[in-house]
């Protein structure tokens, strides 16, 4: 029972500040969750705090490995639109 932070993380520190279990530390290139300490916030909050403040889609995975904030869920940009914009910029 633990969440995981992966390399989409931009090191904004927001999750560290709100984690009730002090389960998050600075890693080499991004934040890391200490799986032994993470409680998924159970007993403290209804939602995992790190994933409730994290601004970056797909940076935090739940215990089954799925992104808690999937593409488009935070920015409101439909993923197709985002991909189209990226393709267009690359083509310039």
């Amino acid at each position: 029972m633990a969440v995981e932070i992966v390399d989409a993380c931009v090191n904004c520190f927001a999750c560290i500040d709100v984690c009730p279990s002090s389960a998050i530390d600075e890693g080499k290139s991004h934040m890391l969750v200490n799986a032994k300490k993470c409680t998924e916030c159970e007993g403290d909050f209804a939602d995992p705090q790190c994933a409730s403040i994290c601004p970056i889609e797909t940076a935090i995975l739940d215990s089954s490995g799925l992104a808690i904030n999937p593409p488009g869920s935070l920015t409101g940009i439909p993923p197709e639109k985002m991909n189209a914009a990226i393709m267009e910029i690359k083509a310039r």
Binding site: N11, C12, F13, Q49, I53, P55, I56, T75, I89, R92
Partner: protein
């Protein structure tokens, strides 16, 4: 994020660039406030030619999302608010402030603006302020915020004697807010849409009231988003003024697909310069407005419009030995000198004002002119070196500062960095609406292209004070008969 829009500022009436100008910003301010802001580059249009500011990036976390922000980007060529290259610890920030203050004695103001929201990082932000108020007492402190955590921070802010707070307020209406802020983080939950926007707006207004009740200066920033909040911003201006904000700064939305922001990708357009100016004019009827805001990066260093951050990277300041006591003495002397020469200038201008203005016996239309300057209130920059132009309006009422135009458009990512050949075209495009451009020197090629574009280049006033030069050119235009007739097919507020 807090959109570190940091400080920008307003300018002054007679206290600013002189009585030859018609400034609508600081003339309305009570003397005590005017005194407070006279050497603040972000609050005084005049001061920003002489004094410098810096921001330290100690606040990475944010508690809301704005549609004009993308937390992922960090390109060194980016100069938007909310973007930084190097995050600092409070200790590193203090070191950097001392290094910059000792090397750029004109630096008077230190701001914390991000790259997230300073008040969403209370420990890092307040540790920095605490150390600075002890160790660098001659530097003014300021902070900008989205307002969500502001009411809880007012007490602490007042302890550190932070006299300038900037709140970004884009709307008073939760329905509009939902189109700008997709979510906020509040009491342990991510709250989306109208509900989240409503909480944010309430917190902003409460924070504004609490600050002004404590006598802390508050500036309000608004981002003009065409089709979303532009009509509503007049109301915002009225309300925040009634609640005691001393300045309102309307900034244009910056939105390019390359930035990866919601607005950029979804094709939301930015306002035209002329639309921005029209809105600023409408708002200035009932509010002190700031037009020289540069929308600095959250780690900007130097005079407004320039960024010397590269000279003060962590490894470089690590090697500097700073004797701050000595630096403070030197700084005091330099600051006094600047203020003195400003005062002298004002006196001279007041005396000269009546004689230099050819009082037109009939009223001619106002004319916009662009100026290339590297500071000091003078026309002292080569056209080709200008990364931005200041725009002034000359009319029968004198000369007033309108705003600045950036030349270099934002870097759009690694693939396109370094594209140079269109720079000249970019400069000319950025001067749309102007009828003349004043600079110290200009090359042959741009001269011709400018003329073709209907913009008269002028190098006659090199090293002269800006306002006098603009007035001089205006009078020449009148004498040459250029402003007779219905030359109204020119531009003015059409775009």
């Amino acid at each position: 994020m807090e959109l570190s829009v940091i400080e920008e500022a307003a300018e002054g009436g007679c206290s600013s660039s002189g009585c030859g100008s018609t400034d609508d910003q600081m003339t309305h301010l009570p003397d005590n406030i005017r005194e407070k802001v006279q050497n603040h580059p972000c609050y005084s249009e005049e001061a920003h030619h002489y004094f410098a500011r810096m921001h330290v990036a100690v606040a990475p976390a944010c508690n809301i999302q704005c549609h004009y922000c993308n937390r992922k980007y960090d390109c060194a060529n980016e100069s938007r608010p909310g973007v930084v290259s190097e995050l600092l610890s409070p200790e590193q920030a203090v070191k950097k402030v001392k290094a910059v203050a000792a090397n750029i004695p004109q630096m008077t103001v230190l701001g914390i603006a991000g790259p997230g929201d300073p008040l969403a990082n209370p420990e890092r932000t307040f540790d920095t302020f605490r150390m600075l108020s002890e160790q660098t007492p001659d530097i003014k402190l300021c902070v900008s915020t989205n307002g969500l955590a502001l009411p809880d921070a007012v007490e602490e802010l007042s302890k550190h004697n932070i006299d300038h707070v900037t709140i970004t307020i884009n709307t008073l209406d939760p329905e509009i807010g939902a189109k700008i802020y997709p979510w906020i983080y509040w009491n342990g939950r991510r709250i989306r849409g109208v509900k989240g926007a409503k909480i944010l707006i309430e917190q902003q207004q409460k924070g504004l009231e609490m600050l002004t009740a404590k006598g802390i200066l508050v500036k309000v920033n608004s981002v003009m988003i065409p089709g979303v909040n532009e009509d509503h911003l007049k109301e915002v201006s009225r309300v925040v003024k009634a609640k005691g904000a001393f300045l309102h700064n309307v900034m244009p939305l910056i939105a390019e697909a390359e930035h990866g922001t919601f607005y950029g990708v979804m094709g939301q357009r930015s306002p035209e310069d002329s639309e921005l100016q029209a809105l600023q004019d409408e708002c200035s009827g009932d509010m002190n407005m700031m037009r020289h805001c540069r929308q600095c990066r959250a780690d900007a260093v130097g005079l407004l419009g320039e960024d010397r951050g590269e000279e003060f990277t962590l490894d470089k300041i690590e090697e500097m030995e700073i004797d701050y006591e000595a630096a403070m003495e030197k700084r005091a002397v330099i600051h006094e000198g600047i203020i003195e020469s400003l005062n002298e200038k004002h006196a001279q201008k007041a005396a000269a004002a009546e004689t230099t203005l050819v009082t037109p016996d009939k009223t001619y239309r106002p004319v916009l002119m662009a100026v290339a300057t590297s500071g000091g209130g003078l026309i002292n920059q080569h056209f080709g070196h200008a990364t931005e132009f200041l725009v002034y309006e000359a009319s029968a009422n004198g000369v007033r500062f309108i705003g600045h135009r950036k030349v270099d458009q934002y870097c759009i990512g690694n693939d396109t960095c370094g594209e140079k050949e269109s720079a000249l075209a970019g400069s000319i495009r950025s001067l749309k609406g102007c009828e003349a451009v004043l600079c110290s020197k200009i090359g042959f090629e741009p001269w011709g292209l400018l003329e073709e574009a209907g913009i008269q280049p002028n190098g006659e006033y090199a090293m002269e004070p800006i306002e006098e030069a603009v007035l001089g050119v205006y009078n020449e235009m009148i004498e040459a008969g250029l402003l007779d007739e219905k030359s109204d097919d020119s531009q003015m507020i059409s775009a």
